[in-house]
Symmetry: C2
Subunit: 240 residues, 2 copies
């Protein structure tokens, strides 16, 4: 699987994101015509991502948003009831989509190393499609209410748990080593995060998501390779 294949199989566009947001929140949205809502939500969300990337969600005023989305204040507030709700809608909808995509990509039949490979690639490719959202949700999580913040943490441990389960299965089958699986999962997640937090760096260096994914997999696999029956059975590193 590479990014191109991924894009052909899964189909998540910004329009889908907005359409789902509409259905999910249609009670609170004063505008009723789907086409209008989708079009305007797209302008709103794009503007939020752009301004937040530059100066953060807190620093973005509703007047900034009004200007960037090219809508009046009154029009904006037809789609959400407060700035805080706007933040929640974006975060919630993104989580739902990521959650679904991750769950779909899991294949209970596959071998652990294939599962792991698949999951790492899926997550990276997802964050490539939804880069603005991933960056946004990481940087702006602290602006959420306690309840919503807990949801973010639950999502975090959910994805970590999936990784740990795969690592344990592989470990039990002798495909992976017996190291600390939770820490390994954290390292993998750190590398995934690196991709969307520092995208500017990789764009400048013209490193594609496929190259990055290949590298991460190589890095992780080098560590996971079980200790061969070589001379050093104690792989523990030594300090003095």
């Amino acid at each position: 699987m590479n990014y191109k294949d991924f894009l052909e199989n899964i189909n998540i566009t910004m329009e889908d994101f907005c359409r789902e947001s509409f259905f999910e929140n249609r009670d609170h949205i004063r505008v009723k015509k789907e086409a209008t809502v989708v079009k305007n939500l797209q302008r709103i969300f794009d503007a939020v991502f752009k301004i937040s990337y530059e100066k953060g969600f807190q620093a973005m005023s509703m007047r900034d948003l009004s200007r960037e989305a090219d809508m009046s204040m009154g029009a904006l507030y037809a789609y959400f009831s407060s700035k805080e709700e706007l933040l929640e809608i974006i975060q919630r909808q993104g989580r739902a989509i990521v959650n679904r995509a991750i769950t779909v990509c899991l294949d209970a039949e596959a071998s652990p190393d294939l599962k792991l490979r698949n999951l790492i690639r899926t997550h990276l490719y997802l964050s490539e499609i939804g880069r603005p959202w991933f960056y946004f949700t990481f940087m702006e999580a602290k602006n959420l209410s306690k309840k919503e913040r807990d949801e973010v943490l639950a999502m975090e441990s959910f994805t970590e748990k999936i990784l740990v389960d795969i690592l344990e299965e592989g470990s039990a089958k002798g495909i992976f080593n017996q190291k600390d699986h939770r820490l390994t999962a954290c390292m993998i997640k750190a590398m995934q995060q690196e991709w969307y937090l520092k995208r500017w760096k990789y764009s400048k260096r013209k490193i594609s998501v496929d190259q990055y994914a290949d590298f991460v997999l190589e890095f992780v696999n080098a560590f996971l390779k079980p200790a061969t029956t070589g001379p050093g059975k104690s792989e523990k590193m030594e300090d003095k």
Copy 2:
């Protein structure tokens, strides 16, 4: 080297941080007595870190800061001329200290693997001492002026360059493999960042910085090990 050794060798406290900030900015600080300045800067910086950790620097009002630091608005403004300058002072001073500590820890004589080990540990231990600052500087960089933001990026590529140089030296000497050194450096930096960005996670799991450092080193070394003929002649690495 472990964290305890590190703490004994290097001596960076919050008080040093404040004292240096005083000398660096004494022209702009209206209060003249060193002891007073240091004491109050400490209260101010601690409060900034605390509030910013909870809700971000932008969302922190000067009245929040006044309350948390237990100083009046007027007293606060004796130590900086604007909220933006306060942010700059903290960022600049932290960079100076980190820069110095990193430079000092480099040992041109040592072998590449020892250098690498030393650098990774130093950076992790530094971020353990200055956790509030590291987190702060990462999350609030976008609130800086263009000029200051460029300094942050320069710092980022400075530390990356040091890593790359070590990796290349080790590669040339056959101690490390011949993979993409820049990407390797990025992975290392991602793991270092993970430590101070997600400290709450590791605190909860009672994972010490020494445990974390050991794990990162093991992870990195597994990848760097050159593709040997035969199973491992360089199976372990040592520190002094």
